[in-house]
Symmetry: C2
Subunit: 365 residues, 2 copies
């Protein structure tokens, strides 16, 4: 197909604290290389897309405050490909912004929505899959998402049940989605896993710009209404003011909840490439290769560990001696201004870290 019609919108606006205290509001995960690959997540994502579609067709959507971080990582990005969100309103408003922008540029645009913080190691298989997906949406008027065969009853992911049950997944072709379920509890996740008719929703979407425009106007009229008529403002001197007003007034809503769960045009493509949403300290643990016999994993300078196991020690500056004894299933993170010692269980970490929302901890966020 003609890749001139193929676009990618990289979503890079997240400001999570899931890798706190290494990730901060001032430098979130996508601008870091916590998995020690040699490149930040966003740079990996950009380079991966560059192998598939023309450079000028890759857009980045991010928060205004991350403009400099994006330009630091992707200095070759041209300013018309950088869409700045004045307020964080989740993925649906950003996608609306990108959709109108692309439609004005090319009414035949197809585009992929790609998170900026995934690890995908088999890039060739990824590229082939994405190309196939672009071809599929050219021929089929669907909202396509990418699905991964689940390997464990993970409660951090969204699950998609396919029409036609497990047999429908045999073909490795896109399948119509029956239901979406975001982050089920453990019991439900086990049932999903056992049934064989669920896939993890990998959070990557692909569609014709025109198709998603129609579906958003249908399912999120209270959001798209705010942007009515702004096609004329795009690329002009009033764009920034227009965008600021629309985002200020609009609700916070995700693509998954606002569109995908409501549309009857959702299809899912069972993909074969490895994919990891390394979104928590616990999931990062599997990526660290420097580990000892007791399965302690290190991204640090010198470590002395005794009577400890399954524990992660993270010290981005890699200068200190970190001496630990008697820790099991812990995470130890030592940064310049914060030391964290916490069980590495995602929920315990998340609950604990929610406290840094208190005003007294503002400077450490």
């Amino acid at each position: 197909m003609n890749t001139n019609n193929c676009y990618c919108v990289i979503m890079a606006g997240g400001a999570g604290t899931r890798f706190w205290p290494v990730s901060r509001v001032a430098r979130p995960k996508q601008f870091l290389d916590v998995a020690e690959t040699g490149k930040t997540f966003i740079r990996h994502t950009y380079d991966r897309m560059l192998k598939i579609i023309p450079k000028d067709n890759i857009l980045i959507v991010t928060a205004g405050r991350y403009r400099d971080l994006v330009m630091e990582q992707i200095p070759e990005l041209e300013s018309h490909n950088l869409l700045l969100e004045p307020y964080a309103k989740n993925t649906a408003p950003s996608t609306i912004y990108a959709t109108y922008t692309l439609l004005k540029r090319n009414p035949d645009a197809h585009f992929m929505v790609m998170p900026s913080d995934y690890i995908i190691e088999n890039e060739e298989m990824f590229a082939n899959t994405v190309k196939d997906a672009f071809e599929y949406v050219e021929k089929n008027d669907v909202l396509l998402t990418f699905g991964v065969v689940p390997t464990r009853p993970d409660t951090n992911y969204g699950y998609a049940q396919v029409c036609g049950g497990r047999d429908a997944l045999m073909s490795n072709e896109p399948v119509k989605v029956k239901t979406f379920t975001e982050k089920p509890d453990k019991a439900l996740a086990k049932i999903f896993l056992g049934s064989g008719e669920f896939l993890w929703n990998a959070g990557m979407f692909l569609w014709k710009a025109e198709t998603i425009r129609k579906e958003m106007e249908k399912h999120l009229p209270q959001v798209t209404g705010l942007f009515k008529g702004w096609e004329h403002a795009l690329g002009t001197g009033v764009e920034e003011e227009f965008v600021r007003k629309a985002f200020a007034d609009c609700m916070n809503v995700s693509l998954a909840y606002g569109v995908m769960e409501k549309t009857d045009m959702a299809w899912i493509y069972p993909v074969q490439f490895d994919w990891q949403d390394v979104g928590t300290w616990e999931s990062l643990y599997n990526y660290l290769t420097d580990r000892d016999e007791a399965k302690n994993a290190f991204s640090a300078g010198k470590v002395l560990a005794e009577d400890s196991k399954d524990t992660m020690v993270i010290s981005p500056e890699k200068k200190k001696l970190i001496a630990i004894k008697g820790l099991e299933d812990y995470i130890v993170v030592d940064t310049e201004d914060v030391l964290l010692i916490c069980p590495k269980d995602d929920k315990k970490f998340k609950d604990f870290i929610s406290q840094i929302a208190m005003p007294e901890f503002e400077k450490y966020r």
Copy 2:
């Protein structure tokens, strides 16, 4: 009595790692203020003695490498009152050096041997006790040590059994010692405590210089022999060379083992003043006043503690946020170049820390 005959020899040569990583070989405990009193241990010790005896009668014995640290803390110390040990050979050789030095200066010298790293809060009672002890040794030819009534079966102390049993302790007068036992095991310590006829040996000694000279020549002739004739070298240009040779050749032996356990002139003075050999992280725990409801104790900047109890957090720079969850009975010490996380139990700490003797950890000692 005439305080011109009263001297004090402050022992400040120790290079322990008991407060590692805050104390280092390069700056051991006596030059620190880990208990946050506002003054270092050695400065407290010096000031405490200044209230009892003339300034010119207070000597400090330390390792050559600590000369600058002593002068930083006691800038008014005159050089003839600073005795430098060329090699660390424990307390007996240092005491021999001090004994000959004092005898040359004043044949009627009485002197107290005082560790430099104790906490004694009731300084007036201490002063009165020391004065009484000087008077006692003036009249009685004994090797006097100070005893504290034990309050728990502590295995870190030496115990002295008195002649005459518990009745002998009623008078609060010096009592003859029957036996010394260094660091008994827990079972034995409990028996000692229950018997009522044991005191903790506080490691402070007081005697006539002439008495200790004779007893050392009797019980440690292999050490005193090395120093024979050196009275003539003292205070001359060859002193340093003489001392270096004597220390190089001499054995490593403590006053307690080399003299006190062997002599039949050991007496012990049951003292009333509070006395704490804050010699381990665990014992320091009781001194930290900044603590929360869960008995976590802090000497740090900002701390966020959850599901944690009886845990100490020490951060001498007091700059970081230290966020801990799920730690019980731990010590967390964060210094510029070392982070330690370890159960605060003395033995576990000591065993763990013994590993820093390995060559790879040299720079962190």
